[in-house]
Subunit: 232 residues, 2 copies
DNA sequence: CGGTTGTTTGAATCCCGTCAACTGACGTGG
DNA sequence: CCACGTCAGTTGACGGGATTCAAACAACCG
């Protein structure tokens, strides 16, 4: 392991209170791994031996039910830490993160988490906030699934995606990684057929522009109106 | 404030690593409050000034949507801490905890959370685990709402309730606080009408026994089968 | 004993999932 | 470079589970 260059992570808010030498200490414990599209970083239910930071790419975290149905729990974006089950006193990973695009990940053994935290309490606070945000996100999704009809849920999901992974283009905002109708269906608790119908309808209304594993939002404001459920 | 007696909380796992004097120090900062049925401990969106521990009773945590629909995010049971938004770096409370039964709550100002944690790192670890569990619970619910039909979701909700608030009686396991069909509907993302129909059907099959704000599970095993979605 | 709150049940409606068939894009190998 | 298999997406028809609308009933409370 030739050591990970500090510059790769220096800009991350997670580390902005660390000195260069402290950061180097942490990186000395870490290793870098690369994942091709479709590869999993780890498997749901496996023993939690490492925790991770996504440097580059995009991961879809899925859970499968006993009867084989799959849902996407969340999407991991560059700069996010994930798989820190041990910090939550869990022995195994709750989901499976799969590379939606070519991805690069930093891995630390779970044993160094304590050191990780001790070196800089700021990291612990940060981790706490991260989990808090995720919990709130989860509650938001529960509320949406409970009270909103499919079209609004899809609208919310798409808005969330362009917020977290939106790349501005001349024609609108593009979701900056390959995403299928099936993926959106698994994020919103519906079927790819229904998602396809909805996106087609939006396309004829000029709200979005689709494509194979592609989605471009042309009118985010109108989408937002739809999501907030104002009159149709 | 006459001081809170140590014996009230001594048995809680949360505090089992604290010495009597440390515990007394913490309790000296706290105050005790009592809530009648229907009263709210705090309101969704209000500034987070305190965090809490439920000593006795039962709280339903609700969130309301912009258009006035309500869902029950979770139920707080005796011994649970809640409202520690500040620990997650949040300025306001995400939901409203309402007393479903006469309840007694210990309150600490948020400022003492740091002291709280510093006194015993074990508390921080414990809090982390608690949040981790809640996050996992939330994901489980999302998965259920996404993939399961209503009857199974209701079955899961009822099973969760008897696990967390079940009192064994000769005829079966009773949910030990007043809970309405409406409540169950808000926990499962459906309507009270549908819940009523489902519970009626279960009653004729001998699985449960209903009543006004009451529910007794007579055959938990059969319910579990239903929830796991084995043949119908 | 009215009024309020919670529950039950029926009938009509409709959203959405399922089933099914087809189209188009991509890439790989001959 | 074209043929073919695979994968992603589209679209229609149909059925059913769940919501909605509506009305009556039962339990609790002051």
């Amino acid at each position: 392991m030739a050591g990970i260059d500090r510059s790769l992570v220096r800009a991350l808010p997670l580390f902005n209170k660390l000195s260069d030498s402290e950061l180097d200490d942490l990186l000395a414990q870490a290793s870098l791994r690369r994942f091709a599209v479709g590869e999993a970083v780890f498997e749901q239910g496996a023993a939690a031996t490492h925790f991770f930071l996504l440097l580059h790419g995009r991961l879809k975290v899925t859970q499968v039910t006993a009867d084989g149905q799959q849902i996407i729990v969340r999407v991991v974006h560059p700069g996010d830490i994930f798989g820190f089950a041990k910090a939550l006193q869990r022995q195994d990973y709750p989901g499976t993160p799969t590379a939606a695009a070519e991805s690069v990940v930093i891995c630390w053994p779970t044993e160094v988490w304590d050191l990780f935290v001790e070196k800089n309490p700021h990291l612990a606070v940060n981790a706490m906030r991260t989990i808090g945000e995720r919990l709130q996100e989860a509650h938001t999704r529960i509320r949406e699934m409970a009270t909103e009809e499919v079209e609004r849920r899809v609208a919310h999901a798409v808005l969330r995606l362009i917020k977290q992974a939106g790349k501005i283009e001349s024609a609108g905002i593009r979701i900056d990684f390959p995403i299928s109708r099936q993926d959106i269906a698994e994020m919103t608790g519906t079927t790819l057929h229904t998602v396809s119908r909805i996106l087609s309808a939006w396309e004829t209304k000029g709200l979005v522009q689709g494509g194979r594993q592609k989605l471009l939002v042309r009118d985010a404001t109108a989408l937002r109106l739809l999501a907030e459920g104002s009159a149709d």
